[in-house]
């Protein structure tokens, strides 16, 4: 079975902090994705990556950056956390022409 692991289920941080969300997949997938999910807005794509050291902006990249130094790991970085970044963050991965598999999510609260 595909396993996508997100480092934290729940996280509470303060405004202005630099926040790291980690995601690891064990299926040697080329593609990895970061989404945020908010009530009434659905899933929105923040950043994605099709290869190591490669990144592409999604629909809402402002205030975020990503890092993919190794194939299995895709990190989402909130450079200076703000309260409007309080959300559920979901990581996903897939191989070529394969469906996406999701992690369990990180519920992030910015106080």
């Amino acid at each position: 079975d595909v396993k996508v692991t997100q480092s934290s289920r729940y996280l509470v941080k303060r405004t202005g902090e630099k926040v790291f969300l980690e995601c690891v997949q064990d299926m040697d997938h080329e593609n990895m994705f970061w989404y945020r999910q908010d009530p009434g807005l659905g899933l929105r794509l923040i950043y994605f990556s099709y290869d190591v050291k490669m990144k592409e902006k999604g629909d809402i990249p402002e205030g975020y950056s990503v890092s993919r130094e190794k194939k299995e790991r895709f990190s989402l970085i909130l450079e200076s956390a703000s309260t409007n970044q309080t959300s559920m963050y979901l990581c996903a991965s897939n191989g070529q022409n394969q469906p996406q598999h999701f992690g369990d999510g990180t519920r992030l609260s910015i106080l």
């Binding site: 659905g42 979901l90 070529q96 022409n97 469906p99 999701f102 369990d104």
Partner: protein, 111 residues
């Protein structure tokens, strides 16, 4: 503009009833996936449909992809409380492009 429209947004039914959830678009998709998400968890893949007119069955769940590959439906027969959750459809427009997600249908099945 929401590329994938899901309806209804909310659905509350009694155990044993049948229901249908719709996913519609003006765009053509090369494939379409259905996911189910429980509170506090990540979406879990139910099925992928790739051929226009395709019908797939998963126990009491029947998935159909429209002939023109622009729409899909999920039919649940004799719903059970365990079917409760958020149902998401997601379409892939061409090979290896990010998925487009609908906003989801929140289903509640009451015993």
């Amino acid at each position: 503009t929401q590329l994938l429209e899901q309806s209804p947004q909310f659905l509350s039914i009694q155990e044993g009833e049948n229901l249908t959830v719709y996913c519609n678009s003006s765009s053509v998709f090369s494939s379409l996936q259905w996911y189910r998400q429980e509170p506090g968890e990540g979406p879990v893949l139910l099925v992928t449909v790739v051929t226009g007119g395709e019908v797939k069955k998963l126990k009491r769940l029947t998935f159909q992809f429209g002939d023109a590959r622009k729409d899909s439906s999920l039919h649940i027969t004799a719903a059970q409380p365990g079917d409760t959750g958020l149902y998401l459809c997601a379409g892939e427009r061409s090979g290896n492009t990010p998925l487009v997600f609908g906003k989801g249908t929140r289903l509640s099945v009451i015993a």
